[in-house]
């Protein structure tokens, strides 16, 4: 039932367009930049009319950056792979640890339970720089500096609290009686957790996993301090474009487009999945 007048529709359309333009502009601009040379990007006044070139992308893929001062080796594809590896492994481990923990915090009352949950959340309060100095000293002693294992471990500071608290909320929203009904039908606690609780909380788990992935992907300081070039993700790798002969804007833009793609695809996929999960799991009563 639609009772909106034509004027209302018009105003709404205009407002939505304005918002979309506002938010999409930087992305579109970067997309355009990625097909331009540094000279055409930096010309004054700027213009949207240019001769497109794919040389920025070629430079990234081949690892050969040509600047005014000569040719440079690039590690970008390695950085991209590092990002994928670090973020996915961190999220997978955080899910394995966090989902059962979230269930425990949601369902069982135990001594210091709330305090432990809050302590885990408080990892997110601390500025990363505060923990980095002691952490880098420990990592040196333990031999974890510049290893994937060490970075994935540190990334748990980002992923675990997020997953724990979001998924806990989802478990708390599930009626315990649905689990009770399953248990009284002859199933053990673990079977119920696996067959009822996790499937019903799946939209929440997916959302939490997606958010954790994005946060891990966008992390900068941990990898900057704790890893060197061959283990660093794209966020740190992008620093390579600030060269002695100037900032390579075109390649930065191409790198950004490259690094947006995985999270973008994941978000699109998860969004469809979330809607599906929610419509299936409509719990009434």
């Amino acid at each position: 039932m639609d009772h909106t007048s034509t004027l209302e529709k018009l105003i709404r359309g205009v407002l939505i367009t304005l918002v979309v333009i506002f938010f999409m502009f930087p992305i579109v601009w970067i997309f355009l930049m990625s097909f331009q040379t540094n000279e055409s990007i930096l010309r004054i006044p700027p213009s949207v009319v240019f001769t497109p070139t794919v040389e920025n992308y070629v430079a990234l893929v081949t690892g050969q950056m040509k600047t005014a001062a000569g040719s440079l080796q690039l590690n970008f594809m390695q950085n991209l792979w590092n990002s994928v590896l670090l973020s996915s492994a961190s999220v997978v481990i955080a899910l394995i640890l966090g989902v059962p923990a979230a269930y425990a915090f949601a369902r069982f009352k135990f001594r210091l339970g709330e305090d432990i949950a809050f302590t885990l959340l408080s990892f997110r309060f601390a500025p990363p720089l505060l923990v980095l100095l002691p952490l880098s000293l420990y990592f040196k002693t333990l031999g974890l500096t510049n290893t994937y294992v060490g970075l994935i471990w540190v990334y748990q500071l980002i992923c675990l609290p997020l997953i724990l608290w979001i998924v806990r909320g989802y478990f708390e929203d599930l009626s315990p009686d649905i689990e009770h009904a399953h248990r009284i039908a002859g199933y053990s606690w673990f079977q119920t957790f696996r067959k009822i609780s996790i499937p019903l909380a799946l939209p929440g788990i997916a959302a939490a996993g997606l958010l954790a992935f994005i946060f891990a992907w966008n992390n900068f300081v941990f990898a900057l301090v704790l890893a060197s070039a061959d283990k660093q993700p794209v966020t740190v790798g992008a620093l390579a474009f600030v060269t002695a002969s100037g900032i390579q804007y075109g390649q930065i833009a191409a790198a950004i487009i490259f690094s947006i793609v995985p999270t973008f695809v994941l978000a699109m996929f998860a969004q469809r999945y979330l809607v599906e999960g929610l419509s299936l799991g409509a719990v009434k009563g």
């Binding site: 649905i178 009770h180 399953h182 248990r183 009284i184 299936l280 799991g281 719990v283 009434k284 009563g285």
Partner: protein, 372 residues
């Protein structure tokens, strides 16, 4: 089918700040094949008791045995108990039919038998038309019946029904009550029914356990509960409209027993209408509380006088509210009474209809002139 025994069961909920004693020293024996209703107001401990029997709550003290086997330490899956939940708790991704068949599947029953049972159960509950639908797309009443069917279709030692018909429309409820009672009888199902609806408890249960404040007040048949309430709480809780209550002081001699009711009314009866043992008790405890059921208060000539507050004809009975000595009492008559609000009305009550309670302990002293 098995006998259920709760022996000195306690439930204490502990939080950081306080401990709530939800169920206190609860003793109950449900015979094999018996239908027992737990009746009480919200928060009286009836649901806690049910959840302890099902295994969703730990027992703080005491034991629970089913068929002679202690079950209070077993996980719910091993207790052999079926339960219908107040909030239905159907599995959202399964159809109504699959929900009902769920436990049968878990018990690895042959598919043909599963289908036959689910179909018969659905027909009894009048939900055979929605077996292929999902819980989210059917009404609350249909979900409730599916939840009830999911419990009843199982072969269990004990059936726990938590407010199983709360969401149904009255007409359907009356029909289903009959069918469910027949079904439970036919299969000699030991059943505990939790409800706050007296009609439902009366219609379904062999015996009713009345609970209040976590304490079992009385465990008796519906008729016994009404005729011989064990204490003031049961007396006022059972019966609709509730029992009228008067504080009175008793004066008795060889010929008459006189109740001086607070507010000025005086009720006198020949001493011969009371047993000797009761008369002796009344001399020792002259401060009593009188309970009079609304249908025992007869309009017409009598010692109780007051002003009519309201007079309602309900189609088959009249409810008259009368202001007597500063309090409102209710009288129910099966004939039509026409009284205008504000008019004077006299009421009488026979000694045989008096329930006498000890005012201090609130326990029953006598019903109808005979010691309780």
């Amino acid at each position: 089918m098995a006998e259920l025994v709760l022996n000195a069961v306690d439930k204490i909920y502990r939080t950081k700040k306080k401990a709530v004693h939800a169920v206190k020293d609860f003793n109950l024996t449900v015979k094999s094949g018996e239908i027992v209703a737990l009746l009480g107001s919200s928060g009286c401990g009836k649901t806690s008791t049910l959840r302890m029997i099902a295994g969703f709550e730990d027992v703080s003290n005491g034991t629970i045995t089913l068929g002679g086997k202690p079950i209070h330490a077993l996980p719910p899956s091993q207790r052999g108990v079926a339960m219908a939940f107040e909030a239905y708790s159907l599995y959202p991704p399964l159809t109504i039919g699959d929900n009902i068949a769920f436990a049968l599947k878990a018990a690895k029953m042959p598919a043909a038998e599963q289908q036959a049972r689910v179909k018969a159960m659905a027909e009894m509950l009048e939900i055979d038309g929605i077996l292929n639908k999902y819980p989210s797309s059917v009404s609350g009443g249909q979900q409730q019946r599916a939840s009830l069917g999911r419990a009843l279709v199982r072969q269990a030692g004990l059936y726990l029904l938590d407010e199983p018909m709360g969401q149904l429309e009255p007409q359907l409820r009356a029909v289903l009550r009959g069918r469910i009672k027949h079904y439970l009888r036919e299969h000699t199902c030991t059943t505990i029914l939790v409800t706050h609806d007296q009609t439902e408890a009366n219609a379904l249960a062999d015996r009713i356990a009345v609970m209040e404040g976590g304490v079992l007040q009385q465990f008796a048949s519906p008729a016994e509960l009404k005729a011989r309430p064990a204490n003031l709480f049961t007396g006022t809780f059972i019966g609709e409209p509730p029992m009228n209550i008067f504080d009175a002081t008793v004066e008795s001699n060889a010929k008459t027993v006189t109740f001086h009711v607070d507010g000025g009314t005086v009720l006198s009866y020949p001493a011969s209408e009371f047993s000797a043992a009761l008369l002796k008790q009344l001399v020792q405890n002259p401060k009593v509380t009188l309970g009079i059921r609304p249908y025992a208060l007869h309009a017409g000539k009598g010692p109780i006088t007051g002003k009519v507050v309201s007079c309602q004809w309900l189609g088959d009975q009249t409810h008259v509210a009368i202001e007597v000595g500063g309090r409102t009492v209710v009288s129910v008559a099966h004939e039509r009474i026409r009284e205008k609000p504000g008019s004077d009305l006299s009421l009488s009550v026979a000694s045989g209809d008096l329930h006498i309670f000890n005012r201090d302990s609130q326990s029953a002293m006598a019903h109808g002139g005979i010691l309780a």
